[in-house]
Amino acid sequence: MGCSCNEHVNPLIPEIVVIEDMRADTEDVTTFRVTKPGGGKPFEHMPGQCAMISVPPLGEAIFSITSSPTQKDFMEFSVKRCGVVTEYLHSLEVGSEIGIRGPYGNNFPVEDKLKGKDLLFIGGGIGLAPIRSVINYVMDNRENYGKVDILYGSRTPGDLVFQKDIFENWPSMPNTEVHLTVDRQEDGWEGHVGFVPSFVKEIGFSTNKIALLCGPPIMIKYTLQTLMEIGFKKEQIYTTLELKMKCGVGKCGRCNIGDKYVCKDGPVFRCDEIDELPDEY
């Protein structure tokens, strides 16, 4: 991966970034926009890669970078409040400085296997965060890719993240369709109601596509089954794995699964590659 940092710097040392903007996407998800203190991104990345966010004295946690590499001015992270570090992040204000290090891991093969292909993005809940980086990369290089379908679901309409993207930006792009669903009906929602896997089946996508899948483990499991049922092969499906990580550089041992380290060899895996791993993710 293209790390432009000084070779002799300890990879565990974070650099400082400033929170330029905080956008509450839902009740418990906020998107943080960060830049270096003098402006600009802390480092370059590719879609699907992660970064370790540092908030001393509470520690570090790894997040997928939700902004596209084509966004040159800043980097974004969408963070769901669910633990000590995320709770603290949510309590910060615009202008606060935090630490960051990365980028970590591999990426979706946007310049390789995905090029020229029809793409089906499937996201569940906060799982849209890593996928958004790829979608926006594709949108900014629209001529390099075929038809784009984005299927996104959340528990309730209020849990749908990136509302500007899903309701305005993406549907207005050429040759792009956005399909939304929620698990539970709420007043004012006129869209589809139902779980992601059954919605996938209902629409019945043609199988000459590459599918990119991200969401909670249970959603991934059943959506994968559905994709296979409608004729997709595992070689056509990419997803991400999420394991506990501390170092991000394949040494601390936490994200080791089989002979892979998810922080280094992942987080993006093709589904036939996942089949080769021991069944403990």
Binding site: L243, C252, I257
Partner: protein, 345 residues
């Protein structure tokens, strides 16, 4: 050229080294021998075959602060404070432990290089001491280690001849150290060398006769997933207390944690040894991939015997030092696992 140092010159030797280097030696304190920074008056014990904790603690400290931070309102200051500044000599490393350094090198010196570890490796001059009296918990020969020979991984090899030690520098760092201590060195005689040969032959025989000499991890065959799904994990792990002792005494375990030591507005970030045997090792906000001790137990041994070798040209992440065999409170160790997986001659 092989040299010799009389043991009655040891205090002089240590003082000489201490002038130019920090000196880490096996030091006896409260009945336990461990590698520690030597100070005048310490009880040095080079006879003890196995220190309680392996000398890994010198090149990869149990706890290591590398960052200081200070928060002032919205401002955050970070200061890089890690690293090893002084040259040091680590004296008396047995060959099994020396081999473990190579196993750790494969992890920490692989890109992206762990600079804290790299610096400690560069600053260190490692002096090994061959082993003539393997114990019944030893099985280093199962991993191709010849405890009586010159360890390839170190800067100077030595042999304990009773009243003296034989001293053989092998690298530039080793030559540099040898130059600094030349006042206590004598040339080894032909008689010394023939005595050494005799001791080595004798040791080879002892190694062959050790109770664990038939352990052979290369006999473990089968696909990764078949080994993972093996029935032995359920059966063996039932006794495991998950205390993590095996990982703390192990010279090859490299898993670590990163944590912040809190003050009100300032504090430190450190890393410390951790254990895959602990339940919160893989605990995340949304759950835990290894909920039972069986899964954690399996991870430790699959990593040492299958995953690590897959990634490092067949080298196992075990050196047969036998510390876990001695220290496990329920007599459950890698030897039992290797045997159950078919790893016997």
């Amino acid at each position: 050229m092989m040299k010799k140092i009389l043991k009655n010159q040891f205090s002089q030797l240590f003082s000489m080294i201490d002038k130019s280097y920090e000196l880490f030696l096996p030091i006896e304190k409260e009945g336990k021998v461990n590698f520690d920074l030597w100070q005048e008056g310490d009880k040095v014990n080079i006879e003890k075959l196995k220190t309680s904790i392996s000398p890994k603690s010198v090149i990869f400290p149990q706890s290591e602060t590398y960052l200081k931070f200070k928060r002032d309102g919205k401002k955050l200051e970070l200061e890089n404070v890690g690293g090893k500044k002084e040259d040091y000599v680590l004296f008396g490393v047995k060959h099994c432990d020396a081999k473990s350094f190579q196993i750790l090198d494969n992890v920490f010196l692989e890109e992206p290089v762990d600079r804290l570890y790299e610096e400690r490796r560069e600053k260190g001059t490692i002096v090994s001491m061959a082993c003539f009296n393997p114990e019944e918990t030893c099985f280093c020969s199962s991993f191709g280690i010849e405890p009586e020979t010159a360890s390839k991984e170190v800067d100077v090899t030595t042999w304990d001849m009773g009243d003296s030690i034989l001293w053989n520098p092998q690298t530039q760092k080793g030559e540099k150290l040898t130059e600094k201590i030349k006042d206590v060195l004598e040339d080894a005689t032909e008689q010394d060398k023939s005595e050494l040969n005799a001791l080595q032959e004798d040791t080879k025989q002892k190694v062959k006769e050790l109770p664990l000499a038939n352990i052979d991890p290369t006999k473990i065959t089968g696909e990764l997933n078949d080994l993972f799904d093996s029935k032995i994990w359920e059966e063996l792990s039932q006794r495991c207390l998950g205390c993590g002792s095996c990982t703390y005494v192990c010279p090859t375990c490299h898993c670590y944690d990163i944590s912040d030591f809190k003050g009100d507005t300032s504090g430190e970030r450190f890393r410390c040894w951790d254990s895959c045997m602990f339940s919160d090792f893989t605990l995340m906000a949304h759950g835990n991939i290894r909920k039972t001790q069986k899964e954690r137990f399996r991870q430790r041994f699959m990593h040492k015997l299958v995953y690590y070798p897959n990634n490092h040209e067949g080298v196992y992440a075990c050196v047969g030092c036998g510390r876990c065999v001695e220290k496990c409170p329920v007599h459950l160790d890698i030897v039992k696992v290797i045997k159950k997986l078919g790893g016997e001659k």
